[in-house]
């Protein structure tokens, strides 16, 4: 197993379980289950024990390993600088070893099968991948400055599609030059890679790279932070080098081109940092810049924000496999409680997966009367004076 040489070096001191300000548990799996086994240190020691043949890899073992949301909180806060950067890589390598051993939770197996067969997690025909943009009359990509790349959730999930449409509408409103490729692009593969299915990730990535090459794409705006991460950090090694931007990074600098309607009611909004934009790629500013440019928005911060943000629990493929749900302390439920405690009326998100996870949590927590989850472009669009 790759990175196995660091497993025994973990002391299990537990800094990885917490945010930098120690407010509360910040590892989604550990928060949800609370057994030491589900903590990053627990995983390190269990993987070592498995490799040493002290324990077998059964269904519990697999659930523990695959419940990691790859949120990166452990990497951010681990006390050991000599190997902290390799923690997630070790967990992903552990998942890869489990997959090779034929030991994956059924939900993981089903997800990967769909990805293998259909190129997306929804088992939908790829020829319909442009349906999310129906009625928008978006231009097909040709010589525009950017390609707009929607991820799995943005392409197929009903709520994700709404967000994709909203972002596309705002990009157009802000006079950003972009087009779409209505057919041929499959899942970015980020979450497949996070599950340790490296070969399938590379297969998906190469398919996309072939399509992007055919269209001579140079600059890409992604809807999802997960896509942003894969295209920006992983595709270059596979021959796909592009200038990649998350949509908030483009729109943050285009806000001055927008005209806002007068008399917008003031509202308190908290911004939920997506892990793959924040901790994985160190952008904590773009989403906030967008919101701060809108009159009437009072940005408030939750106790856990920026590099201390609590993940929605959807990362690492858990959005699709749902290994972290159940219990009062799923991280999505804790997160919406935290937003409500901060006095926010709107919890702003910049990721379709976060949107779905947190909207479900608002309902379960019965917070619908006081807290609304909305994606950043939706919030902006509600206050923009349309010019087309």
């Amino acid at each position: 197993m790759q990175h196995e040489e660091i497993l025994h070096r973990c002391f299990r001191c537990g800094y990885c379980k917490l945010p930098g300000n120690y407010t509360d548990i910040n590892c989604p799996a550990y928060l949800s289950f609370r057994f030491e086994t589900y903590s990053p240190g627990g995983r390190m020691w269990l993987l070592r024990a498995w490799l040493d043949k002290k324990i077998d890899a059964g269904s519990r073992f697999a659930e523990i390993m695959f419940s990691c949301a790859t949120c990166g909180n452990c990497v951010e806060h681990c006390a050991f600088p000599e190997f902290r950067d390799r923690l997630l890589l070790a967990f992903i390598a552990g998942k890869e070893a489990l997959l090779e051993a034929g030991c994956a939770p059924p939900a993981v197996r089903d997800y990967l099968t769909k990805m293998q067969l259909h190129g997306n997690a929804y088992a939908r025909p790829m020829k319909k991948s442009g349906e999310w943009a129906r009625d928008l009359d978006l231009p097909a990509y040709s010589d525009q400055e950017y390609l707009f790349f929607t991820d799995d959730a943005g392409t197929w999930d009903p709520r994700g599609q709404e967000i994709a449409r909203s972002v596309a509408t705002l990009l157009r409103q802000a006079n950003v030059s972009f087009g779409v490729i209505p057919q041929g692009l499959c899942s970015d593969g980020n979450d497949v890679g996070a599950m340790g299915e490296t070969a399938l990730f590379e297969e998906l990535a190469k398919k996309n790279i072939d399509v992007l090459s055919k269209f001579n794409v140079r600059k890409i705006i992604t809807l999802s932070p997960h896509s942003f991460n894969a295209l920006k950090n992983d595709y270059p090694a596979l021959g796909g080098a592009y200038q990649v931007f998350h949509y908030t990074q483009v729109l943050a600098f285009a806000m001055s081109r927008l005209t806002f309607s007068e008399n917008s009611d003031p509202v308190k909004i908290a911004f939920h940092d997506p892990c793959y934009l924040g901790r994985h790629n160190a952008d904590y500013a773009s989403g906030r810049m967008m919101l701060q440019a809108v009159p009437g928005i009072n940005l408030v911060e939750m106790d856990r924000n920026r590099n201390d943000a609590l993940c929605c629990g959807g990362g690492g493929g858990n959005f699709f496999t749902d290994l972290l749900s159940g219990g009062d302390d799923s991280s999505a439920r804790v997160r919406v409680r935290e937003a409500a405690d901060a006095g926010a009326r709107i919890l702003a998100v910049a990721c379709p997966q976060c949107a779905v996870m947190l909207e479900d949590a608002v309902k379960v927590e019965n917070l619908d009367q006081t807290l609304r989850v909305a994606e950043v472009s939706e919030i902006v669009m509600e206050r923009v004076a349309l010019t087309y």
Binding site: H8, F11, Y15, E36, L46, I55, D56, R60, A79, F80
Partner: protein, 459 residues
């Protein structure tokens, strides 16, 4: 039996929060130290006191051992299930129940972490703080109080058990009792003037009950904070230096340390002296007092204050400091354990020399140091040894060094703190027989079925 146990525990706490799986049994069988594994039959995580009570009653019915656990960071193996049974992991009981700013106490549940309370106070009561141990922030308040821990306000307030104001405890037979003022007045301001029943649960290594709530003292949090580092070369001077510094009564914390690394520190004895003030003027006044108390040594050029660049000072002021956990990676192997001996201050030089000799004899990577408790009333002198847990020989060397250190500490008149099960036996051998007989009598009354963390404090 085990499946029945799991099912019945599941009826109490819900199936999500009980496990008899191999994964949990493996991980909970050990801690980060050198003690050999001892696996539980089940791990259970109750949400409230009533669930703890039901778990304890079930354990009595089944005559199954019960081992309470906070964050499991004791390092000396006290939360291992030496005779199997149920580990009660308290971390779901993590509510901060009350902060009383005028009487300066907080009431928390048994699973509240040090870091969580620190964050809560910073946000809601920035004028207050509690004494943080050097343990990582995930360590629990209850666990640390129960082992007589100490921390960053221990010169000011003594051991953390001295800062306790009361407890709620589930007894081994399932009754829920309160100690201190909360048992009479409903508020948690003091343990006096009642018979001090809290002592029944501190230092007993989980053999007398499960602490579900506790009250602890809070202290003023200063706007201005500083640390001085006094350096000497002669260990024999240290008791007098400590005495003079503590006599000023301005330090919050004093921690001598002696390490072979970094290179500039080798061979020197350092004392970090942390203090704070509401104003810069007050801070200067306190600094002057501290400096004046040991000026004689500086004048003689046999000791003096170390000039500290701001980044270094910042690291010394960081509470808790991750640098301490990093000691575990000294041997690239994720392990360290220490003997922390509670000792008289005048034994400082003996302890220092013994530590060096043991490190040399067993060829272990070491760090020596102490925390002064109270105004120089005693100290917790620690002998820490790093090891590579992937190297059995290295672990054995560290284990042998720890055993030798426990012996040496006892020979010097010290008492190993949060002693491992073998070290408990060493302590018992030295203990006044009537004292140990009383301990056994008390346990017999409290725990007639012998279910509470058996194997500890036994001959």
């Amino acid at each position: 039996m085990t499946s029945d146990l799991i099912a019945r525990l599941g009826e109490i706490v819900g199936p999500r929060y009980v496990s008899g799986h191999a994964e949990e049994r493996y991980l909970y069988s050990m801690d980060q130290g050198t003690m050999p594994p001892a696996a539980p039959d089940a791990v259970v995580m109750p949400k409230n006191t009533e669930e703890v009570r039901q778990v304890v009653r079930l354990a009595n019915e089944l005559k199954t051992p019960v081992v309470p656990m906070g964050a499991g960071l004791v390092l000396s193996g006290l939360t291992r299930a030496l005779k199997g049974g149920i580990i009660v992991d308290m971390k779901r009981m993590n509510h901060i129940i009350e902060v009383n700013p005028k009487s300066r106490y907080a009431v928390v549940e048994g699973g509240v972490s040090q870091g969580m309370l620190q964050a809560y106070l910073k946000k809601h009561h920035p004028e207050l703080k509690h004494s943080m141990p050097d343990a990582p922030p995930i360590a629990t308040l209850a666990g640390n109080v129960c082992i007589h821990g100490s921390g960053h306000l221990s010169v000011l307030g003594g051991s953390h058990s001295d800062m306790l104001t009361g407890m709620e405890v589930v007894l081994p037979t399932g009754e829920i009792v309160r100690t201190g003022s909360c048992s009479v007045a409903g508020q948690w301001f003091a343990r006096s003037p009642l018979p001090d029943l809290s002592g029944l649960f501190m230092g007993w290594s989980g053999t007398t009950g499960i602490v579900t709530k506790l009250g602890i003292k809070l202290f003023p949090s200063y706007k201005h904070n500083d640390v001085l580092v006094f350096v000497a070369e002669d260990a024999d001077l240290m008791p007098e230096i400590i005495s003079r510094l503590t006599s000023t009564q301005v330090a919050e914390d004093m921690t001598p340390w002696m390490t072979p690394k970094p290179e500039w520190a080798r061979g020197f004895l350092h004392i970090n002296i942390a203090y704070g003030a509401h104003t810069k003027k007050e801070l200067t006044f306190k600094r002057n007092l501290l400096q004046a108390s040991v000026r004689e040594y500086a004048d003689q050029k046999i000791a003096g204050f170390l000039p500290l660049p701001p980044p270094q000072k910042g690291r010394f002021l960081k509470i808790p400091s991750p640098d301490l956990a990093r000691f575990a990676d000294l041997r690239k192997g994720g392990g360290f354990e220490y003997v922390g001996a509670i000792m008289a201050i005048e034994k400082f030089a003996d302890a220092y020399r013994a530590g060096l000799a043991i490190a040399e004899k067993y060829q272990v990577s070491y760090s020596l140091g102490a925390r002064i408790i109270g105004a120089g009333h005693c100290m917790m002198f620690f002998f820490a040894y790093a090891f590579n847990r992937a190297d059995a020989e290295d672990v054995r060397r560290a284990s042998d060094a720890l055993e030798a250190t426990n012996t040496a500490a006892l020979d010097m008149g010290g008492i190993p703190w949060k002693a491992e099960e073998p070290a408990q036996k060493q302590i018992i051998e030295k203990m006044d027989p009537e004292t140990f007989a009383l301990m056994e009598k008390i346990r017999g009354v409290l725990d007639p079925n012998g279910i509470m963390n058996p194997g500890n404090w036994e001959k």
